[in-house]
């Protein structure tokens, strides 16, 4: 097992910066997700760790050893690829056994290990098949088995679930998490799916445009997003971001949305918001997650809105509402009476508000 | 025979015989046939007889001609059209396909062509099959008949009737490098080595001596070792003609006329007799006096190389002479000497089965291939115009123009062509010292023992078979005797297939026997 350290790692593609000065520590045995939209540099970062791509600048350490110039084979990392990267001409058995064959492990040992791993992943009956004869889920597991069979110090998993259908994705998510829990190997997991990152990781590194946005536990990322990007990328449906005017009142700091008072913040939270707003024409961005609004009758005080769509989601309904200039999404219990074209008042949960600077997008305060 | 390889090598082998076979072969050979299909519009129109109209107004004469001879036709086309009101459509056919195209067209009665311009060797075969018109009824109007060289005249007769109009004369002669031969140092060295004076060879033995003498050292002064000889020994090309020309001296016995290729009494092939074997041994012997590439050379490549200047001796039709005059490619203009093909003091007698030896040299110049002749197709709808056009191509004035213009593929065949070297010097050829050249050509055409080429039907197959086996002997895979015996065997088979009696009758007739 091993720790991984990235020190100001940069990847240049010609003149384009693919990865921009990423520094990160992954502790021994941790499950860390690189999360971000496509093109954010997460895969490049992983490929640099694997040794499949050159590091333009900076250093990568596995344990305390600088590995910049080591070929992939010298790093003792195992990797599962987005498209599985199975060897199409070989049986599943040979696919899994391949890393051992290459290391000239004795045939007896190879056979024992392959079958052990195959049973672990419930594919022992399929080992004589070719990759093209089995489903995506099986291929996925073979790809994992091939990585597991080597007992490497580091696992690198590149969007391993992205091609599975929803059912399988959801069950494989759990299997992967259990697997990590059982063997405890340091794991780096690349994904664009915030749900995967949230459900599986010890730490999430959110990336965008080649830059690291925030590193933290799923709870930190969700409850205290560092900036507007993280806030809207995590959580589904996405957080509502609304423009509010900030004013200091005797009761505290008052946020007004659409010319109606929205909330009054306590001194502590309010101070930070106030200071930022002063430099930005008295305006702040308020973030409210869709479940954090309560739908009330229009005479109640809150954000006045008109229901545009009501969508049935099973346990809940998703309301899309117009508040004049802005559009707001609210997840409400299914017994909520509001129908399309109804006027309602949206009341936020005061302990779950987020405030971002309009200009920099950085989080100013969280009201928890 | 002129200018370019006998077996023309087309960029895509054009396979154009009996259409259908071709389809399969085409797919297998990866070649594609794109035979031009000329439209035949030979109908005589009403306008022909109207007053004031020209003689052949509205008629179209379609001419099939081997492609490298086409300029010898095209240069006169416009004039004749203007004069007669007729149209001439020239269909150029690569030489390799010419025989098949003509045969197919004639035998299927397609009436595609009014005039065929082709190898005189084929006249007997086409005449016998009534594919071409007996021209006797037209000949009285020809004014310059007597001027045609005797041997060429004979090529045109089948059963005592003329079937063609001559356009070309073909005889194989020898060339040597005058400059090297006249060098005093060389002369002295040669005399010292061989005991006689260095001069144009009169026997094949001398030819071989000279070839040896000039091999392996730099007598041309270009800093590289030179060669004694250059001949076209490559396969599927002019090889059979050159080889036959060499064999004639040993195998054409004046005592047994007409026995060069067959015993005219039995139609037994002669080509495996000791005379031919000797010729083949000679031919193999000179390999080492030429460059290794000689084994791949056809007529065209041989000419191109010879005029580049590193070879003392060569054998060819009249073409080397003309090509040497082109200062762009030739370094030997003015350095060329000529001689009638060497002879032999012994000649095989097929009757006594022994050598006839004599102090006299038996010379037997060889009319290889026979030259381009024109015939009128039997099915032509405009025979009068066709004849008239051929006659025009052969007119005194035009024939001289043609033979003295480079690139026409027409070589001298009328006495007037040989008479005035000055005309050659003034012609586009700008021939330097044409006198000796014309002298040797004329002499080669008119010696009593000058030999005709094989002209009976299937001459192409005889020739191919001979070539195949001789090539094996040249490559050293079998002995000369073996090669010629096998060739003779195959010849018998071909003769039998074609009908022995029929072949014999024609062979005898063409050789002037009865």
């Amino acid at each position: 097992m091993a720790s991984i350290t990235l020190d100001k790692v940069v990847k240049l593609y010609g003149k384009v910066t693919g990865v921009d000065q990423i520094s990160l520590k992954v502790a021994d045995g941790e499950f860390v997700s690189f999360l971000g939209p496509s093109g954010c540099g997460k895969t490049s970062t992983m490929r640099m760790i694997a040794g499949l791509e050159d590091i333009s600048r900076g250093s990568i350490f596995i344990d305390d050893k600088r590995v910049n110039d080591l070929p992939p084979a010298g790093r003792n990392v195992a990797m599962a690829f987005e498209n599985y990267g199975l060897y199409p001409q070989m049986s599943l058995f040979r696919n899994i056994a391949y890393p051992l064959y290459v290391r000239k492990v004795s045939p007896t040992e190879v056979g024992r290990e392959v079958v052990r791993i195959a049973r672990l992943l419930h594919i022992e009956d399929l080992l004589d098949k070719k990759p093209s004869d089995v489903s995506g889920g099986v291929r996925q597991r073979v790809s994992l088995a091939r990585a597991l069979v080597r007992k490497p110090t580091v696992f690198l998993l590149d969007e391993p679930l992205s091609h599975l259908d929803a059912d399988l994705r959801s069950s494989m998510r759990g299997e992967l998490k259990r697997l990590h829990d059982l063997n405890g190997a340091t794991t780096i997991y690349v994904t664009h799916d915030q749900l995967e990152a949230m459900t599986m990781s010890d730490q999430i590194a959110v990336m965008n445009l080649g830059k690291l946005q925030q590193v933290g536990t799923p709870s930190e990322i969700f409850n205290r997003p560092a900036n507007r990007f993280v806030a809207s990328f995590i959580g589904e449906p996405a957080m509502n971001l609304l423009r509010g005017r900030v004013a200091s009142t005797p009761e505290g700091v008052l946020i007004t949305l659409q010319n109606t008072p929205f909330v009054t913040l306590n001194r502590e939270t309010g101070q930070a918001v106030l200071e930022t707003a002063r430099q930005e024409d008295g305006v702040i961005e308020v973030g409210v997650r869709p479940p954090d609004f309560t739908v009330a009758s229009p005479e109640k005080s809150g954000l006045q809105a008109k229901v545009r769509f009501r969508e049935f989601l099973g346990e809940t309904v998703l309301l899309t509402l117009d508040t004049g200039a802005e559009r707001v999404r609210v997840v409400a219990p299914r017994d909520t009476q509001a129908r399309e074209t109804d006027l309602v008042s949206l009341v936020p949960r005061l302990d779950r508000l987020h405030f971002f600077s309009i200009e920099s997008g950085m989080a100013v305060a969280h009201s928890d | 025979m002129s200018k370019i390889d006998f077996w023309v090598k087309p960029a895509h082998a054009r396979l154009a015989a009996l259409g259908i076979v071709v389809l399969l072969l085409t797919s297998l050979l990866g070649a594609c046939g794109d035979a031009a299909t000329p439209t035949s519009s030979a109908a005589v129109t009403a306008g022909a007889g109207q007053a004031g109209a020209k003689r052949f107004d509205g008629q179209t004469v379609t001419v099939a001609v081997g492609s490298f001879m086409s300029s010898g036709v095209n240069m006169f086309k416009a004039d004749w059209e203007k004069k007669t009101g007729a149209k001439v459509q020239v269909v150029e056919i690569p030489f390799g396909d010419l025989y098949q195209r003509l045969y197919t067209s004639f035998s299927t009665g397609a009436g595609e062509f009014d005039i065929a311009i082709y190898a005189s060797n084929w006249i007997p075969e086409f005449a016998q099959a009534n594919y071409i018109l007996n021209l006797e009824k037209y000949y009285p109007e020809k004014t310059n008949w007597n001027d045609v060289v005797d041997k060429t005249k004979k090529l045109m007769y089948v059963n005592g009737q003329r079937y063609s109009v001559p356009l070309d004369g073909d005889v194989i002669i020898g060339y040597y490098r005058k400059d090297a031969f006249e060098n005093d140092q060389n002369k002295a060295k040669f005399k010292a080595k061989y005991g006689y004076d260095l001069a144009a060879p009169t026997t094949w033995q001398q030819y071989q001596d000279i070839a040896e003498f000039f091999t392996g050292w730099d007598w041309s002064g270009d800093g590289k070792p030179d060669y004694g000889v250059l001949e076209a020994q490559g396969p599927k090309d002019v090889g059979p003609f050159i080889f036959s020309a060499r064999a004639a001296a040993y195998a054409a016995n004046p005592k047994t006329p007409g026995s060069l290729f067959f015993d005219p009494d039995t139609m037994e092939p002669s080509i495996n007799n000791p005379g031919w074997v000797q010729a083949l041994k000679d031919w193999i012997a000179i390999k080492k006096y030429g460059p290794a590439e000689m084994a791949t050379y056809g007529g065209g490549t041989m000419r191109g190389n010879f005029v580049a200047g590193n070879y003392a001796l060569a054998l060819d039709w009249a073409d080397v002479g003309v090509q040497a005059q082109d200062e762009n490619s030739s370094t030997i203009k003015g350095k060329l000497g000529y001689y009638v093909l060497p002879g032999s003091k012994k000649v095989w007698n097929i009757k006594t089965k022994a050598w006839d030896e004599s102090s006299e040299v038996n010379q037997a110049p060889f009319l290889g291939w026979g030259g381009w002749h024109g015939s009128v197709a039997a099915k032509s709808k405009v025979p009068d115009a066709a004849w008239d056009f051929l006659n025009y191509l052969d007119s005194t004035e035009n024939s001289l123009k043609a033979v003295t213009t480079p690139g026409t593929a027409r070589n001298p065949y009328r006495t007037q062509h040989f008479e005035n070297p000055q005309l050659w010097a003034d012609s586009p050829t700008k021939y330097m010292d044409a006198g000796p050249y014309l002298q040797v050509l004329k002499q080669s055409n008119s010696l009593p023992n000058t030999q005709f080429d094989l002209r009976i039907p299937k001459s192409g197959r005889y020739s191919e078979v001979l070539d195949n086996w001789v090539q094996q002997a040249l490559a050293g895979t079998i002995t000369p005797e073996e090669a010629l015996n096998k060739a003779a065997n195959d010849w018998k088979q071909i003769t039998n297939e074609a009908g022995l009696e029929q072949q014999k009758k024609l062979y005898r007739e063409l050789e002037g026997l009865s």
Binding site: L52, P71, P72, A73, V77, A78, F81, N83, G85, Y87, Q89, M90, F93, R94, A97, Y98, V102, R103, R112, V114, V115, R119, L120, R146 | W7, H12, A13, L15, A17, L18, I20, V21, L23, L24, L25, L28, L29, A31, D97, Q100, Y103, S107, P235, D237, P291, A292, E293, A295, T296, K458, G460, R461, E464, V465, N468, Q471, A475, G476, T477, E497
Partner: protein, 303 residues
């Protein structure tokens, strides 16, 4: 209705392929020559073929050209394809340069190689003399002539192999190769374990195409040696051409064509069978190991 629609193309196909084939077959049992009609002579032509020294030599030559030429072209083409595929810059240019020989007309190819191999002026001869070696009679010695044709054919058609294999390489998925690198395989192992087997379909296609084409080898020989010296470089197509169309022996030539056709069909089938076997065997080793371990109970506890 739908079946009726495909009838015209089928008839057309029949007309252009089956009928000529039948005609050739018919022709091959006659002694038809271009000058006249022939008569039925049974299998005489075929019998004669097998005692015809030129035919047998041409037949052997053709097979050897195919085997030697295609083998050389395949490995060279594969090597070039791998090389170019691994290049970072200048792929386009180098690809174009490699493809050039294929685009040169055979006439020019013949001329160029005759010149290159000329024992007097050729640069190859120059090189030999420069190294104090005796110039070699490339085109005029029976064995060397044969070798030269193989070399020229290889020179001209390796680009074709290259093109097919390069295209094949580029369509291979990238990930298995990266996986193999991470798995710790050496370049050599990656080639034999992955590149080569994954490229097999493209390879089979390329080898088959080139083999069938090679059977029709004609132009290069025609222009460089004319089949000489002494028939040492003859091919079946060259013989067929001269027999049928130059000397007009159509029946005999047709028999040659039929033999050529049969040989192509048989050899193409053989190649396919051999390659399939190869592919099947590639996975046998793994299969055996697997059988062995699934058969016996394992000393491991299933998690």
């Amino acid at each position: 209705m739908k079946h009726l629609l495909i009838a015209p193309p089928l008839l057309f196909f029949f007309a252009i392929s089956v009928i000529p084939l039948l005609f050739t077959l018919g022709l091959s049992v006659t002694n038809t020559s271009i000058g006249g009609s022939g008569s039925f002579i049974g299998l005489n032509n075929y019998a004669q073929l097998f005692s015809d020294q030129f035919f047998l030599r041409g037949f052997l030559n053709t097979i050897l050209y195919v085997v030697l030429g295609v083998t050389a072209q395949y490995w060279l083409g594969l090597g070039l394809a791998l090389l170019v595929n691994s290049m970072v810059h200048g792929k386009r240019l180098i690809r174009l340069l490699i493809l050039l020989p294929m685009m040169i007309p055979p006439l020019i190819v013949g001329f160029v190689w005759q010149t290159l191999l000329d024992s007097r002026y050729g640069p190859v001869a120059g090189l030999f003399t420069g190294l104090h070696l005796k110039p070699v009679p490339w085109l005029t010695d029976p064995t060397l002539g044969f070798v030269s044709i193989v070399i020229v054919d290889t020179w001209q058609w390796t680009p074709f192999m290259f093109l097919l294999l390069f295209t094949g390489l580029r369509t291979l998925p990238k990930e298995p190769f990266e996986a193999a690198r991470v798995d710790g395989a050496s370049s050599w192992r990656i080639f034999w374990d992955h590149t080569f087997p994954m490229l097999l379909p493209a390879s089979i296609a390329a080898i088959l195409l080139r083999s069938i084409e090679s059977f029709k080898l004609f132009d290069i020989v025609f222009f460089i040696t004319g089949g000489g010296p002494g028939g040492a470089t003859n091919t079946l197509t060259l013989l067929g051409y001269f027999t049928s169309l130059r000397s007009g022996n159509l029946g005999y030539g047709a028999a040659m064509s039929i033999i050529l056709l049969l040989t192509v069909v048989v050899l193409a089938t053989l190649i396919l069978i051999v390659v399939r076997r190869l592919m099947a065997r590639a996975d046998k080793a793994g299969q055996q190991a697997l059988d062995q371990f699934l058969a016996e109970p394992l000393p491991v506890k299933v998690a």
